[in-house]
Amino acid sequence: MIEIEGVSLSHRGTPILHEVSLALPKGELTALIGPNGAGKSSLLSVVARLQPLQSGSVAVDGLPVDRTPSRELARMLTIMRQDTGFAGRLTVRELVGFGRFPHSRGRLTDEDRERIDEALALFDLTALAGRDLGTLSGGQRQRAFVAMAFCQGTDYLLLDEPLNNLDMMYARQMMRLLRKVVDRRGRTVVIVLHDINYAAAYADRIVAMKDGRIVAHGPPNDVLTVGRLEQLYGYRMQVHRIDGRTMIRHHD
Amino acid sequence: MTILPAVSVRAAALGTVLFFAALCAASLSVGVSDLSTVDGTEALDTLLISRLPRTLAVILVGAGLAIAGLIMQTLARNRFVDPGIGGTEQSAAFGILLATLVWPAASILEKMVVATLTALAGTAAFLLLVRRLPPTQPYLMPLFGLIYGGVISAGVTFIAWQMDLLQYLDIWMNGDFSGVLRGRYELLWLAALLVALAWWFADALTIASLGKDASLGLGLDYERMVQAGLAAVALLSAMTVVVVGMIPFVGLIVPNLVSRLRGDNLRGSLPWVALGGAGLTLGCDVLGRLLRYPYEIPIGTILGTVGAALALWLLAERHERG
């Protein structure tokens, strides 16, 4: 369970999050949606201790993220972000292998190697394992970074826009994989999504944010209504139910 | 950039003029011999032979370098370059070294001609090289320029080392006005001429700062303008290095400060750039004479400190404002 209590955040006097409180149960796939600048990524950063906590509290399985040793947290929770450092000269296998760092501090055991192979296979990267990251396409690199987060083996996976750069085939495959990770392995995934239809199709729970506040929170069918969506994005969309699923036509 | 309201601009302008006048008075009165204790003719001699020439030299050099910095920023379309950041002054020093080696009997004027030519070549090469840099990275150009100047310096030092000319090198590399006397600075009056010329062409310069396409659209011969600007920058830098040695940061700081007070229309702001350059240089020169009185600290050292601090402030401030 991730418990967020009264978290506010500001950067150089500009408020980013206002008194956000939220509880995310274990074993679910939660999608964060909302317009640009809503504070979705910032909220993830605070939960993952990338941003220091300014006020309020965040606890993961009862452990406060600001006071728990970073190494201990790294075995419970991980985050994948867009801005990755300079990793041009790393192979895909080396990168995914970094996911084992919290466990073996860089000296890989046989178990680590098995986990790496598993992650590579799961994300369809086995054929690319020996390639340098710099030589990959954006989508391939994206999958490699998600595979690294998966390989870390944490109960909680926070993913900031993991569908960026992915074509439809890989975007669908990524979402199905994440679904599988939640259903079969009981992991918890929190994901920032821009395409609300992916959220509608794959998420157990949707958190809608705007201007640093949570506007709505609940199962997809409750959150994705015409009124809510207009409140969020500022224009009317058509919401259809097809075979019990929600589909949003958000373009003309 | 925000431009300050008219009242405070006028106040700042008046303040600058008064401060400048006070600096001139200070520069004329500060020195090893106390003018009030010696008799009339001797005091007058000191004033005419040493103090006045020195003050005039500082003013001419300061105004000239500030204008050279302004022109260079216009040509490079980057606010963070000047003749010291971009290899002009270092190239001029290379020219003087060359002249000293090949033609030891050269007069100061002849050395200046050679230095102007090398400064021209060095600056043109810099402007050609930085065209290849991505325009989205404004800080890349000054960085490139600093190291470019450093590489030229290393080359000059190596040659000077081989030829046993290191002690001369220090004279050209570190600006110092203490050697200025009547008869040894008059070359610098050229700077006054160039500043006047720059003001004459201020509108054309403003248009050139908008870039090649806009300039051509407004009927300005852009290439001609670039060549003339380059020549002015090279000449101003070369005469400075020949007569007093390298002086850092004036060309960077002053145009930036004036631009935030008076905006970027050069017809109105150019005289203030000249005055500001003269004021900053004069202030630092007087400071150098007072700090360790009766000894002198060269202006290159003072301006290196003051200028680097101001440049860091400009960099931080610019970022704060977005």
């Binding site: 801005d83 300079f86 | 991505p134 890349l140 600093l146 190291i147 030092t157 190596f158 600290i297 860091l312």
Partner: protein
């Protein structure tokens, strides 16, 4: 043994060859005396090489770019400033008679303090690369000018003694700091080696490193302290070395084709030894004179830097 490791051994062979040549070439006269003299010099050169290479790798890793050296960020100037300010403050109290090792340690402490105050905020705020580089370069000029200013305040006439030429002089090393430098360099290199896996993770950038359980703030502070210490050693021994680190790390990366610190650290250090010792041998016995290696390295390294700047598309 994989290809990258083989190349590290190749670099080791090259470094060894340079050292052997340095010791034996043109040996004449009193063998024992000359050999001892050369051994001391060799030891100093190796120390400087290792300190420069390791500090550059560390700083590049922690800042996340490969076109940086500690000197571009003004760290060596900071050491000289510390020394000069101490002379200024304590000049009247017989500072000249104080043990040079004592002076070195005091300057080092001051330097760590100032570096932490000035550079940690820059590193924490994740300032974009070129702004960080320009800030560092301007800080370097500020520190150098301040050093020269304070120097002139101390002694307006005899300043040249303190100032030197502004380039490293590899033929006149400070003997009195050799032992202390050796301890610090060896300790620094050992710590860096122990941290090699952590450094691989740090190179992924703060977000990924924190997600992998690195205590970013503590790690960065520690690495910066290490960098400052190593820079102090090399600056105290020979003077400012700006581009050597850039040169050898770029060469090491080209040669081994990897950024793994287990390879990059030793490869850079060994190449640095080869460049310094080999270059000094050539200059002593060939053309150019012994004093000019520093200037040549700056010239070549600076040109390389310009090339890297022009090709780096500013991520």
């Amino acid at each position: 043994m994989n290809a990258a490791e083989r190349r590290v051994w190749f670099a080791a062979g090259l470094a060894l060859l340079c050292a052997a040549t340095f010791m034996t070439l043109g040996l004449r006269g009193n063998f024992a005396f000359v050999l001892e003299l050369r051994a001391v010099k060799l030891l100093a050169l190796v120390q400087v090489a290792v300190a420069v290479a390791v500090s550059t790798v560390l700083l590049q890793t922690v800042t996340g770019n490969r076109i940086l050296t500690p000197s571009i960020m003004g760290l060596d100037a900071l050491y000289l400033l510390g020394q000069t300010v101490m002379v200024f403050l304590l000049g009247g109290l017989g500072f000249a008679s104080v043990d040079p090792r004592m002076k070195f340690l005091c300057a080092l402490l001051a330097m760590v303090g100032v570096a932490a105050a000035v550079f940690l905020p820059i590193l924490r705020r994740q300032v974009p690369l070129f702004r960080m580089l320009l800030t560092g370069a301007l800080l370097g000029i500020l520190f150098r000018s301040l050093t020269s200013l304070v120097g002139r305040l101390i002694d307006p006439n005899d300043f040249a003694v303190l100032q030197g030429s502004g380039y490293a002089n590899f033929s006149a090393v400070r003997g009195d700091l050799l032992a202390l430098g050796l301890v610090l360099t060896a300790a620094g290199a050992a710590v860096a080696w122990r941290l090699r896996h952590v450094l691989d993770v740090v190179a992924l950038g703060p977000a990924a490193a924190i997600a992998l359980g690195i205590d970013w703030r503590r790690t960065v502070t520690g690495i910066l302290t290490l960098v400052v210490t190593l820079v102090a050693v090399s600056t105290a021994l020979v003077g400012p070395v700006v581009f050597l680190g850039l040169l050898v790390v770029a060469l090491a990366e080209r040669m081994t084709g990897t950024q793994r610190h287990a390879v990059l650290l030793p490869a850079s250090a060994l190449i640095a030894v080869a460049v310094l010792v080999g270059g000094q041998t050539v200059l002593q016995h060939g053309f150019g004179g012994a004093g000019t290696l520093g200037v040549i390295v700056e010239f070549v390294g600076g040109t390389l830097f310009l090339f890297l700047l022009a090709t780096e598309r500013g991520r």
